[in-house]
């Protein structure tokens, strides 16, 4: 049992011996240069042979017809359309973040006066499993199907998983899902069929991004990062990714884009930092990300203690009942 919260090396916590350990791998997804082409979604589906989700319906959510991450969707490109007011709000909330904890003495503050606010912008962001330092899904898995790899990533062994679904509830980002037959009922309705649904593999077990574990062991780049045409999805050693992310956000701030901020690059946050780091241009909830996730097991010892007291109380109540109850 490793630590339950705080900064740590998850690979070492998982008792990987040094001769097997690699530097922790991760993504840096820079949404400021995402063009919404969804090549990552396609490459991910192709490489991992993930079946189709749903019924190919148009959602009306801008160009996002994928909707969310799920058992068969391990990359999801979000599309958000914003006007002048929302852009100004994003810039203000980003500015507040920049000012937060700024040293009051020292180097002179950089000139962060915003450039001309555009009238319209299109936020595009490729979401993925965060491969948390403290992964709720992994902690609560009862079978050991979920494990920490030698690359510091979190992977499900589909032949071990018995589909209990606890990891689905354990993920603060809504990433993991149990795979059903992958189809929506209307697929089989006359006139509604939009292509044959192939047989769904690994039905009934939890599924999520593996950070292309099978490619990593062969020293290859994950499919999504390999295919990304703008390098919005970067892959490499986690430490390098965090460093790149910090340089990039500083660069954008220097250009006056105070709306730029990092997500998951802080090892002091509620999940100990994420393996997949993001650069966002608005509040996380705008992209469907939680603003202050906290791994549920961080409070596990409190829960066990409280439960222990409650159980002792129950035994005491029973004892009193037999002592007094005539």
């Amino acid at each position: 049992m490793g630590q339950l919260s705080g900064p740590t090396d998850p690979t070492a916590d998982a008792a990987w011996t040094p001769e097997h350990t690699h530097p922790r791998k991760g993504f840096f997804t820079d949404t400021s240069i995402c063009i919404g082409c969804k090549a990552c979604e396609v490459a991910c589906k192709e490489w991992n042979q993930n079946p189709r989700d749903g019924d190919l319906e148009l959602t009306g959510m801008s160009y996002d017809n994928t909707v969310s991450l799920g058992a068969s969707t391990w990359r999801h490109v979000a599309f958000v359309e914003q006007g002048r007011e929302q852009i100004a709000a994003a810039r203000t909330s980003g500015q507040a973040l920049v000012s937060l904890g700024m040293p009051t003495i020292g180097a002179p503050a950089p000139d962060l006066s915003p450039p001309e606010t555009p009238e319209f912008r299109w936020l595009m962001a490729s979401d993925v499993c965060k491969h948390c330092t403290h992964a709720g899904c992994l902690d609560v898995c009862p079978t050991g199907a979920l494990f920490r790899t030698e690359f510091g990533t979190v992977v499900i062994q589909p032949d071990v998983c018995n589909g209990c679904g606890t990891c689905v509830a354990g993920c603060p980002f809504g990433v993991v899902e149990r795979r059903s037959d992958g189809t929506a009922a209307p697929t089989y309705r006359e006139g509604h069929r939009k292509g044959e649904q192939p047989p769904v593999p690994k039905r009934g077990v939890a599924q999520k991004c593996t950070l292309c574990y099978d490619r990593l062991v062969d020293d290859e780049t994950p499919a999504c990062a390999q295919t990304c045409p703008t390098t919005s999805i970067k892959f490499g050693d986690h430490a390098t990714m965090v460093e790149t992310a910090r340089e990039r956000v500083a660069e954008l701030h220097a250009q006056g884009m105070t709306e730029a901020r990092l997500y998951g690059a802080n090892e002091l946050d509620g999940v100990g930092g994420t393996g997949a780091v993001f650069l966002l241009l608005d509040e996380p909830e705008v992209y469907g990300l939680p603003p202050d996730p906290r791994v549920c097991t961080a409070d596990l010892m409190t829960m066990y203690k409280r439960a222990g007291v409650a159980m002792a109380g129950m035994v005491a109540a029973a004892a009193v009942a037999f002592w007094r109850g005539r």
């Binding site: 049992m1 959602t59 959510m61 973040l97 904890g101 709720g136 902690d139 609560v140 898995c141 009862p142 050991g144 998983c161 018995n162 589909g163 679904g165 606890t166 689905v168 509830a169 354990g170 809504g174 899902e177 149990r178 795979r179 039905r203 939890a206 500083a250 990092l262 997500y263 690059a265 802080n266 002091l268 946050d269 509620g270 999940v271 994420t274 509040e283 909830e285 705008v286 469907g288 990300l289 939680p290 603003p291 202050d292 996730p293 097991t297 596990l300 829960m303 066990y304 007291v309 409650a310 159980m311 129950m314 035994v315 109540a317 029973a318 004892a319 009193v320 009942a321 037999f322 109850g325």
Partner: protein, 323 residues
């Protein structure tokens, strides 16, 4: 400027996912509680020489644990792999800890129930030379099961709370108290239904104590939760179930105190208590599922606690950073 409480969601889509659990799970929460409480009643009866209460409580526990186990397996995505629950032991997984508690409890209980059944059938079970062994083990086995009885009744609270489901997670300090109380009143209620009033005294006392604990713990829990995270406990189907749960529990307690020594009233009160416990489990379960459907149950409490930490001067622990 956007006011503090408002936020922009991603097309109102959920942020966390609901666990893929059907009604088998709240049914198990109820049955596991009945089994746990009955295990304690059986042990108490065993130690104080109440043969009928002991037998009935053991049989009740066995029925509850059997049905509950079936419900648990049926809800798995791969029921044929249910035994994978026991391929490892993980303290960080309440589901793993619970699987072992359930196994340990069922082991002792099965021996004790075997002895009861043998006695009821007039020693007709084909046990041969094993009969004296069974009789010798019966007592210790009943007490072994009793050791795991309260954990069986309480671990399910940790199982629900140790998730990212907003309403369940927000109950994590107090839900164990609600669940052990609910288990106590339910098992006591069942004993009042099955057992003649002469031997059911301890069950009546446990029922009243359980109701006091249940009502108090539930109210305290709701008061200590984030108001938005607590909302699903009051609204819709879950709210209705939890309101009726409290009413039934109080009615059951009054019935127990006033007329528990008369069999018909004891049976009625017992049934009310069983209903109260079932409604508590289904209500809490439904409230949690509901809280995953709307992103505001995730975003609002999280933004509130983040803002509170910042106001208190803690600026280093946000997942969103400017550098």
């Amino acid at each position: 400027m956007v006011p503090e409480a408002e936020f922009t969601s991603y097309y109102d889509k959920p942020i966390v996912k609901a666990p893929p659990w059907g009604h088998e799970i709240p049914a198990y929460l109820f049955l596991g509680g009945v089994a746990g409480g009955s295990g304690l009643l059986a042990a108490g009866a065993q130690l104080t020489g109440r043969a009928v209460l002991r037998r009935n409580a053991r049989l009740s526990a066995m029925a509850a644990i059997g049905l509950g186990g079936v419900a648990l397996v049926a809800d798995l995505g791969k029921p044929s792999r249910f035994y994978n629950m026991l391929r490892t032991f993980k303290v960080t997984s309440p589901m793993s800890v619970g699987s072992w508690i359930l196994t340990a409890y069922a082991g002792g209980l099965t021996v004790a129930v075997g002895a009861e059944v043998d006695r009821m059938s007039g020693s007709r079970l084909p046990l041969g030379p094993l009969r004296p062994v069974l009789r010798a083990l019966e007592g210790p086995a009943g007490l072994e099961a009793a050791v795991f009885a309260a954990p069986l009744a309480g671990y399910t609270a940790v199982l629900l709370a140790d998730t990212a489901v907003p309403t369940w997670n927000a109950t994590h300090r107090d839900l164990p108290f609600v669940f052990v109380s609910s288990a106590s009143l339910a098992s006591a209620g069942l004993a009042m239904v099955t057992t003649p009033v002469g031997e059911a005294g301890p069950a009546r006392a446990l029922a009243v104590l359980g109701v006091i604990g249940d009502v108090a713990a539930m109210r305290l829990m709701e008061r200590r939760m984030d108001p938005v995270a607590a909302e699903p406990l009051h609204h819709g189907q879950a709210g209705t179930m939890l309101r009726w749960s409290e009413r039934l529990a109080l009615a059951g307690a009054v019935g127990t105190v006033v007329g528990g020594r008369r069999r018909p009233l004891a049976v009625l009160s017992g049934l009310a208590l069983l209903g109260a416990s079932a409604l508590t489990r289904f209500g809490v379960f439904e409230a949690g599922i509901h809280s995953t459907k709307d992103p505001r149950y995730v975003v609002e409490p999280q933004r509130r606690r983040l803002a509170a930490r910042r106001a208190a001067g803690e600026t280093s622990d946000s997942i969103t950073t400017a550098r």
